[in-house]
């Protein structure tokens, strides 16, 4: 029995009989459609976009190669610089805020709270909403005249003014708010699951040694949750780089292009402004950004698995 469990691949080979040939081909036949769809739909198209990024394609794809021209144009584009800068601001604040809020809520929820299940459900429900819904609601809440400002005026704070949504320097922060509202509960769920997996004997020992609860959390528990921390950052960064819906729903990139993110830039250049070459180049840079995050992450994951 022992060797079979270690070698599941041997299962197919072990059989002999009339159906052997068919049985050996069946698994491959079953995964073939996926192989073809994903091979073309992800890898083939990735290459295709890569090829287009070296061409002068405008309203229609063309194969007139101009080398790195589109990338050079992208680097000189004021709008791309704004989009990249916005991604840095948005991504940085979004990830840090989600982590701080998520970790804090997870630790608080881990203190034998009554109705923990109900509270967790409330923290996490925004994740089930479409970002378009989130954007619509937050756009209404932050409405410069009728939203938060009017509420504060009605409550007696008459000098209160809040027009970040239409301020080109501050609008990007309103998108951070909505995104943090939506995703921080998710980080909470990840960390709560992590906290539940911490070996309680270590904590008991630390308590016997006289360590206080905050010290135990900062020195022992949180450092042991490093893998949860990394996968949270990975997922949040992934959400940030792909963020498109929320911007479209809240500001559509405006005022002007002050809240453009690379995903919005790519969409508007490729599909509405007829600059497919430039749009493709921006998509390739987005892929590059994801790869820069993903490769070290997967590398460390795989190395850890091998060590186990």
């Amino acid at each position: 029995m022992e060797h079979i469990q270690r070698r599941p691949a041997g299962v197919a080979r072990a059989s002999s009989g009339l159906m052997d040939g068919l049985q050996r081909w069946l698994p491959k036949l079953v995964v073939a459609p996926t192989f073809v769809l994903v091979g073309i739909g992800i890898y083939g198209y990735m290459l295709w976009t890569g090829v287009l990024s070296f061409t002068s394609s405008s309203f229609l794809p063309s194969y007139d190669f101009i080398g790195l021209g589109q990338y050079a144009k992208l680097m000189e584009s004021e709008r791309w610089l704004v989009a990249s800068k916005n991604l840095a601001i948005f991504g940085g604040l979004f990830i840090v805020s989600c982590l701080l809020i998520g970790v804090a809520l997870a630790i608080f929820l881990d203190q034998r709270i009554r109705q923990e299940g109900a509270i967790r459900t409330i923290y996490l429900y925004p994740m089930a909403l479409s970002m378009i819904v989130t954007g619509t609601v937050w756009r209404w809440i932050l409405n410069p005249r009728l939203g938060l400002e009017k509420l504060m005026h009605d409550w007696g704070w008459t000098s209160f003014s809040f027009d970040w949504l239409v301020d080109s320097d501050l609008a990007i922060y309103t998108i951070v708010m909505a995104a943090v509202w939506q995703a921080s509960g998710f980080v909470m769920a990840l960390f709560l699951a992590g906290l539940r997996g911490v070996d309680s004997s270590i904590i008991r020992a630390a308590r016997v040694d006289g360590a206080s609860l905050p010290v135990i959390y900062c020195r022992i528990i949180l450092p042991s949750l490093r893998p949860v921390f990394f996968s949270s950052v990975m997922v949040l960064a992934h959400i940030a780089i792909k963020s498109f819906d929320l911007v479209m729903a809240m500001t559509a990139g405006g005022p002007g292009y002050s809240t453009d993110l690379p995903a919005v830039f790519m969409y508007s250049h490729t599909f509405t402004r007829g600059q497919m070459g430039l749009g493709s180049a921006s998509a390739m840079l987005m892929l590059g950004a994801i790869l820069a995050l993903l490769v070290p992450y997967l590398y460390s994951e795989l190395r850890e698995k091998r060590h186990d």
């Binding site: 299962v11 995964v31 992800i42 479409s130 619509t136 509420l151 769920a189 539940r196 528990i221």
Partner: protein, 289 residues
């Protein structure tokens, strides 16, 4: 670890509950605002404030959002787009989940030379930013005559969803002992018999996770909808965005909020009914591999 955390003295407990309840309010308030605004009259919205209850509760916002509101040029409300979303989501969810189940079965129990490579390809596919495939996909759908059709959207969602569903099932089936499969093979059971008679009866939880994850993802999708669909085939998310951004006439926030509620209800209901599986899908999706 909860068992070792001593229930401290009262003030700190009160502080903890205070923080937790405050956070509950922060998460709930947007939903409350969305709901009460949707039941207000436009006059009420202008005179009252975000958290004031409607003076006259009315469903005008809802009926208008459902059947009269303008989403761009057309003014038939969001009802048609709501059904579009169902027509797109249901087949895409079922197909991608079924494909994922069979793929997961093969990649865990019938490994062959190259199956690990395929798994790696799928794993990586989960991370690719979709911007990198949009343009070629739009060109392909156009060539196939599937541009601006629900069928086209179903195809797109199957292709880019199958990587996730395969991961779910593969990771689930890996934990099922191979000895079970081996024993069935010795009894003469074939590829499909083993799947339907042995694995399928054990698979209810992972099917739930996959179905719910895919439903939420596909229903909430905006990017594919806005790029690959136009006019009558648009899903609800695109219609909602158009409705909110239509600038003709007076802005009616009650209609906006009612439309947002309509777009949010299916996934909210799923979340409330089967939240356990939703959370499991989220955490499984984040700890890939």
């Amino acid at each position: 670890m909860t068992d070792v955390v001593r229930t401290g003295f009262r003030p700190s407990r009160i502080a903890i509950y205070g923080v937790l309840l405050l956070a509950c309010l922060v998460y709930l308030i947007p939903l409350i605002i969305m709901l009460i605004t949707s039941f207000k009259t436009p006059l009420d919205i202008r005179t009252g404030n975000l958290l004031a209850l409607p003076t006259d509760w009315t469903v005008v916002g809802w009926t208008k959002a459902w059947s009269e509101a303008c989403t761009g040029v057309q003014c038939n409300g969001v009802s048609g787009y709501f059904w579009n979303s169902f027509k797109m989501t249901v087949p895409a969810v079922l197909i991608s989940t079924l494909l994922g189940a069979f793929n997961g079965y093969v990649l865990s129990k019938w490994k062959f030379k190259g199956s690990d490579l395929l798994f790696g390809m799928l794993l990586f596919g989960c991370f690719v930013p979709f911007q990198v495939v949009l343009l070629p996909m739009a060109a392909t759908l156009g060539k196939l005559g599937l541009a601006n059709t629900t069928t086209g959207l179903v195809l797109v969602h199957v292709i880019y969803g199958v990587a996730f569903t395969t991961l779910f099932f593969r990771n689930y089936y890996v934990a099922i002992p191979d000895a079970l499969i081996k024993a069935a093979r010795l009894d003469g059971a074939g590829f499909f018999t083993i799947f339907f008679r042995i694995l399928l009866p054990l698979s209810t939880p992972i099917f739930m996770v996959s179905l719910i994850w895919q439903f939420t993802q596909i229903w909430n999708d905006f990017l594919f909808g806005v790029v690959f669909a136009s006019g009558d085939s648009q899903p609800i998310t695109v219609a909602l965005n158009n409705l909110v951004n239509t600038s003709t006439g007076v802005k009616e926030y009650n209609v906006d909020m009612a439309a947002a509620m309509i777009a949010a209800l299916p996934t909210l209901v799923v979340y409330i009914v089967a939240g356990k599986y939703f959370i499991r899908g989220l955490t499984a999706g984040s700890v890939k591999g």
